[in-house]
Symmetry: none
Subunit: 220 residues, 2 copies
């Protein structure tokens, strides 16, 4: 299933929007017409639809009601026609939200993020090609899932939440193992090794999890 289908007949605007969404870690499709949107929706499904109203032939209202016949996938309508009638129609047809063009991309992204989190618990951290799905406890590198064990996942999460910071060994150990752990601190380095093996192109020359001699590690 795709994360988001962007329906926009202006290819330039649609592409730009898709790029913004991809940068936030969402897997997006661009549909250039209402018909194409429905095709993609039927074939792939989606978690969210961003729907421009003004489309050739089958317009946004049509797409919305077609989807709403059987599904309640969230839909955000986008339109340059800012009349009250249009908004009301959109909402009555079952759109979750309606944004006027020109919309503020930050606000649109915040709305998307909010819907994804509330609806699908997809609370994710993205860093370049690396994506962590906190609620699902899964990690993806360029779309490919990387299977991590519990400790590995907890470690990586803490690293990503503290990107750039140098984390002392004891600090890391206490965070992941708990302050009252009786394990040998040495254990940490073993898990760092497993993590590097899974995350780094060349585990011998790590580019993500760097060693800070005498102190600890830093995730870049």
């Amino acid at each position: 299933m795709a994360d988001i289908i962007v329906v926009e007949d202006n290819e330039e605007i649609g592409g730009l929007l898709s790029d913004f969404l991809r940068a936030e870690g969402y897997d997006t499709y661009l549909a250039l017409s209402g018909e194409e949107a429905l095709e993609i929706y039927e074939a792939e499904g989606a978690k969210l639809v961003l729907l421009d109203l003004l489309l050739p032939n089958l317009d946004g209202f049509g797409v919305c009601s077609k989807i709403r016949e059987h599904h309640n996938t969230p839909i955000i309508m986008l339109s340059a026609q800012n009349g009250k009638e249009d908004k009301l129609n959109g909402l009555l047809l079952g759109a979750d939200d309606y944004m006027e063009k020109p919309y503020d991309i930050d606000i649109l992204l915040a709305k998307v993020k909010g819907i994804m989190k509330r609806r699908y618990f997809s609370d994710q951290i993205v860093d370049g090609t690396l994506k962590m799905d906190k609620a699902g406890r899964r990690v993806y590198e360029a779309g490919q899932e990387i299977v991590l064990t519990t400790k590995e996942f907890d470690l990586l999460l803490y690293f990503m939440e503290n990107k750039g910071k140098v984390l002392k060994k004891e600090e890391l150990f206490h965070k992941i193992w708990g302050v009252d752990s009786e394990s040998e601190p040495q254990t940490l380095t073993v898990h760092i090794k497993w993590l590097r093996e899974k995350l780094e192109k060349d585990p011998k020359n790590p580019e993500r999890i760097l060693t800070v001699w005498g102190v600890g590690y830093r995730y870049i």
Copy 2:
């Protein structure tokens, strides 16, 4: 549980808004301060909160984040301050929508109606070929009914409502058996087994209810 809590320190505006909502058939409470809103929410619960931002003492943002600590009740923010920052803050705090004052009452009502319908009147959960009829407590796989026991049904329902999310064993146990249950947590795994036997093609290699080692289970 109340349908809607209207939080608005201007009693006149709040009263008017409540009247409109009541006319649409919603059971509404009017809270004149953030503190009162939380009191009502704690005591009564609500299906939706309409939240004015500008309140004495505890403002709308505070109320929103307090509610979001444990619940994901829909929240619509209302504000006369129409800066981008406010909107972004609101959305990031987990508000479902943000409306600028002066808002159009018809549009507000349409939004409320939409949220209520999508959120609380879906009696069916569909996921691929699997369909759950909540009220009838029946489950169908590709049209064929699968007969489940009470516990199995409750479990599957919770799984489907939290698709993709890793559910901790204790969390699941508390949800289905109640927090004060004296049963052995081990019992949970037995029911997972029965469920897999009924839902999975090959119960030994589950594709729907996956084990997340050391944490719990995930329905995909």
